[in-house]
């Protein structure tokens, strides 16, 4: 297993595009999530008014345990950048035909796929760890008092966040294997959420119970939107088991379809 991961990392670590895209990802992810409060303070100092009675900088965005859900939710948007790297990595293998040579040299097709999936696991884990560290540090800076009980509450959002990123990267890997060309794959990857939104709008009147089962929807349901709670609305402030099961099932389906496709095609 580790050997297969090392093989894929060997391909990536000497690849400039990999460092550029990953650098961009971790940089934007880090700066955006860490600087939210500074950004709001700056808005206020510029004279932005959010209504007389609310001082926006008093809203506990970064207080334990709110910070866990807030930051994992916002971080979820950046996974698209990481998925581009996955698309480039897999479509390169087809355009250079190196997948063919890898198999000739003695990788089985499933080993080839596993090496890619393991990289997805690694990238998702690194992203999760980074988000955790940022949330921990900002939480300690901005929380008025650090209560252990609060810090240890709601940590399951990181599990959900990991699954969210990994599921999406699995989807990107599958699309890359099916389409094999990077440009088209990225376009379809970006449009997939939109296409699903159109489907959702159409089935809403007939079979609304189906909506949570749609793949992109199930992935975004893992970490629900937290912000309405600051305008006194009810939100889901926990990870629902059903969303984990549905997104987990999709993740399995994505990787299994990738396996089937790779198994039966001539490369």
């Amino acid at each position: 297993m580790l050997h297969l991961l090392q093989i894929d990392l060997k391909k990536l670590t000497s690849y400039r595009t990999f460092w550029v895209v990953c650098g961009l990802y971790f940089f934007t992810l880090g700066t955006t999530t860490a600087s939210g409060m500074e950004f709001l303070k700056w808005l206020v100092s510029m004279g932005a008014s959010f209504g007389a009675e609310i001082n926006i900088t008093r809203i506990p965005f970064y207080h334990f345990p709110d910070v866990w859900q807030n930051i994992t939710f916002v971080s979820g948007f950046f996974k698209a950048i990481l998925s581009f790297m996955v698309v480039i990595s897999i479509t390169n293998e087809f355009s250079y035909r190196t997948v063919r040579q890898n198999v000739i040299d003695g990788l089985s097709r499933s080993q080839f796929l596993i090496s890619k999936v393991l990289t997805n696991v690694l990238l998702s884990a690194m992203s999760t760890i980074m988000v955790f560290v940022i949330a921990l540090i900002t939480g300690m800076i901005y929380s008025p008092s650090i209560i252990m009980g609060d810090v240890l509450t709601d940590l399951e959002f990181f599990l959900a966040y990991f699954l969210e990123v990994f599921a999406f990267l699995s989807f990107a890997l599958l699309l890359g294997i099916l389409i094999q060309r990077s440009g088209l794959t990225i376009v379809i990857l970006v449009l997939s959420r939109l296409i699903e939104a159109i489907i959702m709008a159409n089935i809403d009147d007939y079979v609304p119970w189906m909506i949570p089962y749609l793949p992109m929807e199930s992935i975004s349901n893992l970490v629900p939107m937290p912000f309405p709670r600051y305008v006194f609305q009810e939100i889901q402030d926990y990870v629902s088991i059903s969303s984990v099961l549905i997104a987990g099932a999709w993740t399995f389906v994505f990787n299994y379809l990738a396996y089937l496709k790779l198994k039966k095609s001539d490369i």
């Binding site: 000497s14 690849y15 190196t98 000739i104 040299d105 089985s108 490369i267």
Partner: protein
């Protein structure tokens, strides 16, 4: 002798096109096996199936008497059609990657680089290599992990004459270690020089297979010249089956078992002194074209 490769009824259809049709073939240890055939006759497709990158439509094959797995392939070095590497990696890094996949040691990398004379350029990116250098790197990569079998699909494609000669020497050297080589090529001269056995494919059908030495068996052809018109004298010899005039020489086809020295003796007895008498080696090229023509 132990069969390194045994192919049974191997077939590949691309839609309606039958690229390889019920092929049966046996390659034994130590053979240098040439695969010949016009463009599109199914050589690369066959080799692709043997390396499990193309799924056969039907039929089967065995390497070393066993069903092929990815572990088997680690003991087979193969370059199909053209060199395939990561363009952004250096030659050295590309080989390191292959070595990781095959489970070869790092010392072997320096060894094979030396062998194909790429040591100086090993730290340059693959995409900056010339075609010939790419070919050499591909051969180096195929040689990693001491393969028992080497599969080369037009390995001299794009090489300069010196490169071609070097690859020929390399193939001979590798073969002399007792390793088996399967070589697909259009350069029949090359095949004749290095191969012990060959097969001819035509539109997916194997129309011939046998040892290369058989090419030289059979009837001899002798080129003769002497002063004056000797065609009548030549035709009078019992051992002659045909006489042609070609390029100012008489081309005399002898019957089976008759040698050029018999003809020489006969001419001498008839009082004709030959000013030119050469036994022509039958070329594989000629035989190849004959086989293709016959199999219409």
């Amino acid at each position: 002798m132990k069969a390194v490769l045994q192919i049974e009824n191997l077939t590949k259809n691309f839609g309606r096109l039958c690229a390889v049709n019920k092929m049966n073939l046996k390659v034994e240890a130590g053979q240098v096996f040439g695969m010949l055939g016009p463009n599109g006759s199914g050589k690369t497709t066959t080799l692709g199936m043997l390396m499990s990158v193309i799924n056969p439509s039907s039929g089967s094959f065995k390497w070393f008497g066993e069903e092929a797995t990815h572990e088997t392939r680690k003991k087979i070095g193969a370059v199909l059609e053209h060199p395939i590497f990561y363009p952004y990696l250096t030659g050295q890094k590309n080989l390191e990657l292959t070595a990781m996949i095959k489970g070869a040691t790092k010392d072997q990398i320096a060894e094979v680089l030396q062998l194909v004379e790429l040591t100086d350029r090993r730290n340059d990116k693959y995409k900056t290599y010339s075609l010939g250098m790419k070919q050499r790197l591909a051969i180096a990569s195929a040689l990693l992990n001491d393969p028992l079998v080497l599969i080369l699909d037009e390995p001299t494609n794009g090489l300069d004459p010196m490169g071609i000669a070097e690859i020929r020497e390399l193939i001979k050297k590798i073969a002399s270690d007792g390793r088996t080589i399967i070589l697909a090529s259009h350069l029949l001269d090359e095949v004749q020089k290095v191969c012990t056995h060959f097969a001819v494919l035509k539109k997916g059908n194997m129309v011939y297979s046998g040892p290369v030495e058989d090419v030289n068996n059979g009837s001899e052809t002798v080129e003769v010249n002497a002063e004056g018109d000797i065609s009548e004298v030549l035709s009078a010899f019992d051992g002659v089956s045909a006489v042609n005039r070609e390029n100012g020489f008489y081309e005399v086809k002898l019957k089976d078992g008759i040698k050029s020295k018999d003809l020489n003796k006969f001419l001498f007895e008839q009082g004709v002194t030959a000013s030119h008498l050469v036994t022509k080696k039958r070329s594989l090229e000629k035989q190849f074209l004959e086989i293709l023509a016959e199999s219409k």
